[in-house]
């Protein structure tokens, strides 16, 4: 069961000892990608280059000179990161066929450490959405839709009904990456997180989703949604692996002036046993309208888990939380309007055939290239940026943003180390239900628990906690202090160990994974 293994503990060791080769690993992942094609997690599978990278890695292992723990490890990258020579589409008609001439810094770092890039994963168009349902290549399906656990619990409404109509969404916008990790086609994947786009699908797909502190990891090469909030996100199957990825990606990048200058030292996570010195904050405003009773109960249970282990658990208040959605809406759409202005068909990307004038070419190109969601946000954003509206909306929203960030500062200053909150309001919705409401409504609903961390630039992580009554994953979120990822991940790791989240049982994976290692533990939390 090599594909299910953790990086640090098992796969890397296996590669080093030659129990499995990088090419074998790569081939298995590629085969699994093929057999899970119905998930639609990948937009582009870079089979040739991946195998080549795997071969090169193999050579290094043979010489006894692997580049590090990531050498030979198959990974996937969300399709809004630039990858030289491999199509980067952002799931949009605007960039269909666009082959970037450069690698995003994070991609380059992974490649420099010998990682094997399997392909680019699916997302909501230009990362706008919370379901991974609104890209031009179609929606991503949550692997758990096909799990034994979900199938056992789902009651078919009629005989003719099958998995086809019952499948649930991954959440978004990094749904492809979450699905890829969740279905074992790769060991880790890059996502992006602007309002929760890494943590949300992580929670729905039962994987770990880390949003690092803003400024810790370079955004150079990440096609921006909101420059002042975007971060590259990390999706893995366990917290230790997230720490490994973080260690290989974090640090100052001269190409990104918003990265901090301080030296970053990669760390190994200690095995925390004593939580008595820890203070966990429970923000009452995160008991948001629409929070399912199931998740509320899990949240309580988690709080008690800490309390019973000796930690201090206190209720805290982040009073400006209810304003964060509207604030985010103003600031996000304004930056989107600005960032999307470059897509005019002139230098790259889709160009309309309409040639009457430059203006008409621009207008047609943008109408043809962008979906409704993108165009809607551009229009809103430009409205807020108009001279007569700027003070009322944009500046006001910036001020509210400062208040939201200050809420966290106050709470952390009062002695709280980590905040514990739900990640999502409920488990993953069936696709047919999800698309009943439009993207904007869904985003406003689903971002509510994750977005304030982006406003404040804080690190946050979603850890798979338990299965819902429907047999679908539920994750809980930890939010930490700026640049205190080590503490955040240490606590997350402790929690992960306590809850023993069950492994997904997928037919496809069983068929492809016939390795040497044992299954992981399976005692569940709920």
């Amino acid at each position: 069961a090599v594909l299910k293994d953790g990086l640090r503990s098992q796969v890397s060791a296996a590669l080093k000892e030659g129990q499995v080769t990088p090419t074998e690993l790569c081939q298995r992942c590629l085969a699994l990608i093929k057999s899970t094609k119905f998930l639609n997690a990948y937009i582009t599978v870079a089979e040739e280059t991946a195998l080549k990278q795997a071969e090169e890695s193999e050579e290094r292992y043979k010489r006894g000179q692997p580049l590090g723990i990531l050498d030979g490890i198959p990974i996937a990258v969300k399709d809004n990161f630039n990858t030289a020579g491999i199509e980067t589409t952002c799931a949009s008609n605007m960039l269909k066929g666009y082959i970037s001439p450069y690698n995003a810094t994070v991609v380059q770092k992974l490649l420099d450490q010998g990682a094997v890039l399997l392909g680019k994963t699916n997302l909501d168009e230009f990362a706008m959405g919370s379901g991974s349902t609104d890209g031009v290549f179609g929606p991503v399906r949550n692997p758990w839709s096909y799990s034994k656990q979900y199938k056992e619990k789902s009651v078919p409404k009629s005989h003719s009904e099958d998995e086809e109509s019952n499948w649930v969404i991954t959440g978004g916008s990094s749904g492809g990456s979450a699905a890829a990790v969740s279905s074992f086609t790769c060991f880790a994947a890059l996502g992006s997180d602007t309002g929760g786009s890494t943590r949300n699908p992580a929670a729905h797909c039962g994987v770990v989703g880390l949003k690092p502190t803003y400024g810790l990891i370079s955004r150079h090469g990440l096609i921006p949604l909101v420059n002042s909030m975007d971060v590259p996100g990390i999706l893995t199957r366990c917290v230790d692996d997230a720490a490994v990825l973080l260690g290989s990606l974090a640090g100052h990048d001269p190409k990104d002036s918003t990265t901090i200058q301080d030296d970053f030292k990669p760390f190994e996570l200690p095995n925390l046993t004593d939580v008595s010195k820890l203070s966990i904050g429970i923000p009452k405003e995160y008991h948001a309208p629409g929070l399912s009773s199931e998740i509320l109960a899990l949240w309580s249970k988690a709080a008690n888990l800490f309390k019973n282990a000796g930690a201090k658990v206190v209720e805290v208040s982040l009073p400006h939380t209810p304003y964060s959605i509207v604030c985010y809406h103003v600031l996000c759409t304004a930056e989107v309007a600005s960032n999307m202005a470059r897509f005019d068909g002139l230098e790259y990307g889709h160009r309309s055939d309409k040639k009457d004038s430059t203006e008409s070419m621009y207008a047609a190109t943008r109408r043809e290239g962008f979906n409704d969601v993108v165009r809607g946000r551009i229009l809103s954003g430009n409205y807020f940026l108009l001279k007569q509206n700027y003070e009322k909306y944009f500046v006001k929203a910036q001020k509210v943003r400062r208040l939201i960030a200050n809420d966290f500062v106050k709470v952390f200053r009062s002695g709280v180390d980590i905040l514990l909150t739900p990640t999502t309001l409920s488990d993953a919705a069936p696709y047919t239900e999800f698309i009943q409401e439009d993207n904007r409504t869904r985003s406003a609903q689903n971002d509510i628990l994750t977005q304030a961390a982006n406003m404040a630039g804080l690190p946050a992580i979603s850890v798979p906690t338990a299965l819902s009554e429907r047999g679908l994953p539920v994750g809980l979120q930890f939010i930490g202090r700026s640049f205190q990822e080590k503490q955040l991940l240490t606590v997350a790791k402790w929690f992960e160990k306590q809850v023993q989240f069950p492994m997904i049982q997928l037919e496809e994976v069983k068929r492809h994974d016939n390795g040497v290692f044992q299954h992981q533990k399976s005692a569940s939390f709920s």
Binding site: A104, I223, T258, Q261, A337, A341, R342, L346, E347, E359
Partner: protein, 456 residues
Amino acid sequence: LAPWIPVVGLEIHAQISSKSKLFSGSQVQFAAPPNSLVSFFDASLPGTLPVLNRRCVEAAVMTGLALNCSINKKSLFDRKHYFYADLPAGYQITQQRVPIAVNGSLSYSLCIDNKMSQMVTKTVRIKQIQLEQDSGKSLHDDTRSQTLVDLNRAGVGLMEVVMEPDMCCGEEAAAAVRELQLILQTLGSSQAVMAEGQLRVDANVSVHHPGEPYGVRTEVKNINSLRFLAKAIDYEIQRQIEELENGGTILNETRAFDSKLGCTVPMRDKEGKQDYRFMPEPNLPPLILYDAKSLPANMNHQQVINIDWIHERLPDLPSVKREKLVEQYGILPEHSFTLLNEDGLAEFFESVVKQTQMKPKKVIGWILNDLLSYLKEHSLTVKESPVSSFLLADLLNLLEKKEISSTAAKQVLAKLWKGEGKTPLEIVKEQKLELLQDQEELEQICQAVIDGQENE
């Protein structure tokens, strides 16, 4: 008829003299093959980010200090949005909210009534200096109904210098811009050659009656030289006066100067009311500058800019140089003004003075009357002068030693001008222009002439 007061303000864009662009590493070079100096960032490829060029910031600080501005220790970058083919990102990065330098002044000199002997000094306030990106160039090919876009210039660093409406006519504006040009060239912060687009001037012109509020202003663009600047402004002032006296109104519009017709015409391309939807540039943190007082002890000096350090190293500005020339050489202020006004002339003058015994007060005449008029006649720059400072000094030495008369010297200079490679002495000997100094010899010649006369 009540008198009219014309009011002229200027917006000047000076291209920063630097190896690479303001936010990217691509090269800055004039007249390179199209689209050969374009980085991924300049082409606005998605995912690229701006990285501020230190040299550009230093250039702006130097310029701000030279113009007596307050340098803002914290300044900000903003995005100015509009769609145009030569603006790949759909926005320009500029400094709208808090520019790098504010509240300065520029003193410049004018001759009254075209008499060089009567010079007057005026001052114009500098509102601000901001750093911003230059755009690319678009060439309209009407025959093929297409526009060709060259992005070589896109992203080159600019300093926008805003001069308050303290000027009253074309002559003042041209003089002010000339002085700014000299300052920039002395600092090296911009080569400021108008013909190469390194210095672009837009004029804001309005007229009003004394005691009444300022009139509606128009913006005049597309001015390619100092001469046209003065012409365009004066034309526009006249046009506005005539329009108003005929009962018309002035539109707040942008007009282009047509150098062939010598008039301003409304510009169809630029829309009058544009909402640029200014927004802070989120990818660039505030620009923080330090001075000796605020510089933290353990800061890596490579990472910071120290305003005081730059101040200490400023070269002598033109006004200072002029004073020094007057003091050192005893020449008149008008003389030193002209010396500095011609590129390289002051250096030429000083070089000649060094190499000759002739007094500077006398040398100056040769420089300004003879050499300069030759250069002007043949449209040559000082650098291109066929007569080097060495040759001229040689000639002046002959004159000083009374080996030739001043008339003869002018003849020699005319010959030297042809650039035949002969020395002054050679020419003198050739044309027998020597002054005889020997008393006896002179007597002999005179005697010979008298004798010759007697024989007739």
